[in-house]
């Protein structure tokens, strides 16, 4: 769970877990985080937390709210952001729930708008999207109960990890026959098509496991090392000779 660390002039006052969907910050005692200082407005700012994302919004305070030194009205909190309200600082620490069950990763889930209550008559009927709370936290509609923004029927979403599936090797084909003999083509893209459209085309795909060749179109299939392949993808090995649309070329691994 994410938390805020409230401090004044370098000394920590307390830690506040963001365990509620909506946490108010201000001078009045009704606030979840009360800061008794005249520079702080009665209701100064609020933080709406939906799953792993927390949204900070200034509630129209007199002296404003800063994040990392810049005044903001609305802000998505990032790990280690420092919120400044008067002389007080609140550091936002996002703690990704590492214990999340693996099978919930990336699962599609429904986020239900606050009670699919009868739509207000003012809303243009069918095309209107259900009003979503976090996009415009209740600021505009203070009449809504504090707990209204959204009932989240969901657990957690895991962060996407770094880009997987990048093959480490780089390969190329060199044309051996025909007018462009000697030309070399680096296979840097995920897909490289070879051949003559309408006559015979094959594709070389770059995958984590290596390079593969697959027939795309034409009556004739590519010939690898003198042997015609079938409709299945065929792995390519260093120095394989590919024959396609009457042209021979050599596949080789560069690194």
């Amino acid at each position: 769970m994410a938390k805020l660390i409230l401090s004044l002039e370098g000394s920590v006052i307390r830690e506040v877990p963001l365990d509620k969907e909506r946490i108010m910050i201000g001078r009045k005692p009704s606030n979840e985080i009360q800061i008794e200082n005249l520079a702080v407005s009665g209701e100064h700012a609020c933080i709406v937390t939906i799953l792993n994302d927390s949204f900070l919004e200034d509630m129209g305070s007199t002296n404003g709210t800063l994040v990392n030194g810049n005044p903001i009205k609305k802000h998505i909190l990032q790990n280690n952001d420092v919120i400044e309200i008067g002389k007080y600082k609140l550091k936002y620490i996002a703690e990704a729930p590492a214990h999340a069950p693996a099978e919930d990763f990336e699962k599609t889930m429904i986020l239900r708008p606050a009670k699919a209550a009868p739509k207000p008559a003012t809303e243009p009927a069918p095309a209107a999207k259900p009003s979503m709370a976090p996009a415009a936290p209740a600021a505009a509609k203070p009449a809504q109960p504090a707990s209204a923004p959204a009932a989240v029927a969901a657990t957690v979403a895991a962060a996407t990890t770094g880009k997987p599936g990048e093959p480490h090797m780089l390969a190329a084909v060199q044309i051996l026959t025909g007018p462009s003999a000697g030309r070399e083509l680096d296979l840097v893209k995920n897909l490289t098509t070879l051949g003559k459209p309408g006559l015979q085309v094959a594709v070389i795909t770059r995958r984590p496991q290596g390079y593969f060749i697959t027939h795309v179109e034409g009556a004739k299939f590519p010939i690898i090392n003198g042997k015609m392949i079938d409709a299945q993808a065929q792995p390519l090995h260093d120095h394989d000779v590919i024959e396609l649309a009457g042209v021979k070329m050599e596949f080789f691994i560069k690194k």
Binding site: I110, L111, K129, M132, A135, T160, L191
Partner: protein, 270 residues
């Protein structure tokens, strides 16, 4: 209704991905009717695939029946209405099942339906399953997700770049079967011969960038089934964290609805 089996070429592929044990996506496509349906189910145990299965089966069968029952010509406006109505019916069926059977409680599904008719495509969608159009060599997203992320982008809260790294990719704000009522977003678009349409579940677009999808479709468009397989394979090569489903539909030629008597007379004299 006109038979579009000579007009539309369709290829499909679906896979449970590299992480999930079962596939909660459901797809159906029928070139003759000019209909493609894709749904991405959610809910515990097997409820997700029940929900997506109901949606696809109901819309596939009942929309087909409704279209067959139409005497005379279907205009695009009526088509739009039909698609919306059938999404509502599927919603009712899933919602009732989830209310009456405890093991299905809370199940729901996204939905994207495309109906080709009279040189137009009618698209209805709910949730974050998408329809893209490839025209020339440019791939464009036609539907706009009903998702938290999309709303954050729309409201200017985050940029598209930030959205790529958001942790809330998988939260939809609208789904079929969750509430007693649902609105499908339905639009119609003019179609051109040579267009390729891509319907997909978020398992594809979360794992494969739009640029890679465009590259795959443009380089493999001569072989639609291979292009569909290739898209699924790329999603899996990139991690395959979700079920991934793809329907590709290529428009081979114009398909105006048979014209009325007056038009026929006109063409007679032309």
């Amino acid at each position: 209704m006109a038979d579009l089996s000579n007009v539309l070429e369709i290829a499909t592929a679906t896979h449970s991905g590299m992480v999930r044990s079962h596939n909660e996506d459901s797809i159906a496509a029928d070139a003759a009717v000019g209909l493609a349906v894709l749904a991405d189910g959610m809910g515990g145990y097997n409820a997700g695939e029940v929900a997506s299965g109901i949606a696809v089966a109901m819309i596939g069968a009942e929309l087909k029946k409704a279209l067959a029952a139409i005497t005379g010509e279907l205009d695009v406006a009526t088509g739009v209405k039909l698609v919306g109505e059938h999404a509502v019916r599927a919603n009712n069926a899933i919602f009732q099942a989830s209310q009456s059977q405890p093991q299905y409680a809370g199940m729901g599904t996204t939905l994207v339906v495309a109906l080709w008719h009279d040189d137009h495509m009618i698209v209805g969608h709910i949730g974050d399953s998408r329809l893209y159009r490839m025209r020339g060599s440019k791939l464009e997203q036609v539907t706009r997700d009903h998702s938290l992320l999309q709303e954050q982008i729309d409201s200017g809260l985050i940029t598209k770049e930030q959205a790529r790294h958001s942790q809330n990719k998988n939260l939809v704000t609208r789904a079929v079967g969750i509430d007693p009522e649902v609105d499908a977003e339905v639009h119609s678009y003019p179609v051109q011969p040579g267009d390729i349409y891509l319907l997909c579940s978020d398992g594809l677009n979360d794992m494969v960038t739009d640029e890679d999808m465009e590259l795959t479709l443009s380089s493999l468009q001569a072989n639609l089934p291979l292009a569909a397989e290739q898209l699924v394979q790329q999603a899996n090569d990139n991690g395959g964290r979700d079920n991934v489903s793809v329907i590709l539909v290529r428009v081979l030629k114009n398909f105006p609805a048979r014209s009325g008597l007056v038009d026929r007379m006109k063409s007679w004299f032309r």
